[in-house]
Symmetry: C2
Subunit: 343 residues, 2 copies
């Protein structure tokens, strides 16, 4: 076992394990160097390159887990959609009708991104720390598919959900099935945990989440229940959703930076909490990073805690600042802190 | 008095008054026609045009209040900043240092947008309903000033707050003073209520809001305390902030669409609640608009309620859908609904 897996399974470990969302990415000069030679899809689709990028942050920092380098869009092209990155995802033909939903295929496991299990095997052979696999939650994948790419307000998607609820459910059903096949494949290849990214869940009111997100997230997590890996979930901007999220069959909930862990934890029914430093703190000074990281660490003392940012690391971040954060978190003795706080 | 003012002052009126954020704007063909002839600043800075645009939605729909047509940037140019609209605000020279903050002027009342009181007088002469004046909250104004325009994550601003907290406080202090002068001027010219827009407050964690937003919002509202107008406040994405917001000396809090009114109201200490239909509902069918509007209306029965959207109306909205919404809200008898729900 490892510190990360212990905490993910609910153990109140003596120090908090740390990994960072988007830890393999644009803030690292060694990543940017590769990106000059290869397109984003090439990095994802070439197992040796995906291995290289996944391990870049592990070689630089003593992080407690690696996360597979891929995109949440990875499993979608075999459904019959064309996706480009400029640099955000752009769908050539956004799904805008029930008829278009009907044309989408649910590919067999072997047809979904076969380069992913290959990359996972290469990473597992070399990684000193556990490997987290991941996928997009069905609602979040549908958000991009229908909107056609990133957006401020996702009007097209929010309109579609209301005008074509049956077609939306059909699409979510297909995405759920593809996600289950894709995530099982990752676990069989060696992924030791799975995080489901529901990046846009927080855009919707509680009732819409309960109808269009919750049942599909449950199906995905239930399908992974017997595979002996911890299941992690993140929704950003989700303070109005935790009552629903608490019912998900998963072990870890990642929370963004808005509310402190000790305020959110009581709503999560004993699940491990992951988070929740504001990524913008890494743009400040080392002194401020220490102060704010320790604030998060103290706020996490009430139960199992995996340290992370509340959202992906920003591309402007100085890698030395991340090194300082990792050091700060790993030097923080949770048992001693609990004693000195009298809790 | 009017239904809108009654509800704003806390009266549990028999029907909920309705006005709509951005009701004067791009979803209206008559607005788009003017916009082809005039720039955005011309519409703001020509009192007759600002009157015309303010009253366009009032002539079309039986709304219960008008809101002044201006932008939250209106009072800023006399501080010494250049702002263009393309179509969102763009600052020619974003504020990125303490020295730049020092160069900013705090103009006398007479120097701040003298076209605004002129427009207000023209509107009051013609408007059958109360006129709401407004301004941006200091933190939100500072967000744009430092970032330099709209952004997804406002990294520059979030970094500045942490690296230069003293300069940030100096800027917020100046913006507070300008806001007070600007809003008092609106009230003296005839504005019958004031809404403070804190559009980006929800980006920050609770502690950051408590330090950089709350004291300045309090100062603005306190300065208006003796002027006999109701004070309205809106922060989007603010579920983690209501404990702080509850302490603001204002009469009305507008909430976005994420959580239902009956869930949020208990945190707001008896203030009037405004909101909170998801603007995307207006992109759906009339049948769905009726259903969702009535859900909001029922959820608002527990106290004073001003009906509104949870955010600005989307530019894609069919004006007939807004007409249908206004009709639905005005046909809803709150007393009868309370009786039939047994509350």
């Amino acid at each position: 076992m490892s510190l990360f897996l212990d905490a993910a399974w609910g153990k109140n470990t003596e120090r908090a394990p740390i990994w960072i969302m988007r830890q393999a990415g644009r803030y690292l000069p060694e990543y940017r160097a590769l990106k000059e030679k290869y397109s984003f899809w090439e990095l994802c689709r070439t197992p040796e390159l995906a291995r290289l990028v996944t391990l870049q942050p592990i070689e630089r920092f003593p992080l407690d887990a690696a996360i597979l380098f891929q995109d949440i869009m990875t499993p979608l092209p075999p459904m019959g959609v064309d996706i480009d990155f400029r640099p955000g995802p752009v769908f050539e033909n956004p799904i805008r009708s029930a008829a278009m939903v009907d044309t989408l295929r649910v590919p067999e496991t072997g047809e979904i991104a076969p380069y992913v299990p290959e990359a996972i095997k290469l990473i597992r052979a070399d990684s000193p720390v556990p490997l987290i696999g991941f996928g997009g939650a069905p609602l979040t994948l549908a958000t991009y598919m229908i909107q056609g790419g990133g957006s401020k307000d996702y009007e097209e998607f929010r309109q579609f959900l209301r005008l074509e609820p049956q077609a939306a459910h059909k699409l979510l059903d297909k995405l759920t099935e593809v996600s289950i096949r894709y995530l099982k494949m990752q676990i069989e290849a060696g992924a030791q945990a799975i995080q489901l990214f529901d990046s846009w869940a927080g855009l919707h009111d509680t009732k819409t989440y309960a109808e269009f997100a919750l049942p599909y997230n449950k199906r995905v997590f239930e399908a992974l229940a017997d595979l002996d890996i911890p299941r992690l979930y993140i929704a950003v901007n989700a303070l109005h959703l935790y009552k629903e999220i608490e019912t998900l069959p998963c072990e870890v909930v990642s929370i963004d930076w808005r509310a402190p862990i000790d305020v959110v934890r009581p709503q999560l029914g004993g699940k491990t909490v992951q988070g929740n430093l504001d990524p913008a703190v890494l743009l400040a000074s080392k002194e401020i990073i220490t102060r704010e990281a320790e604030r998060v660490l103290r706020s996490g003392l009430g139960g199992a805690h995996i340290f992370n940012l509340g959202h992906g690391i920003m591309k402007q971040t100085n890698p030395e600042h991340l090194a300082h954060l990792v050091e700060t978190v790993q030097a923080f003795d949770r048992r001693r802190a609990r004693e000195s706080l009298g809790c």
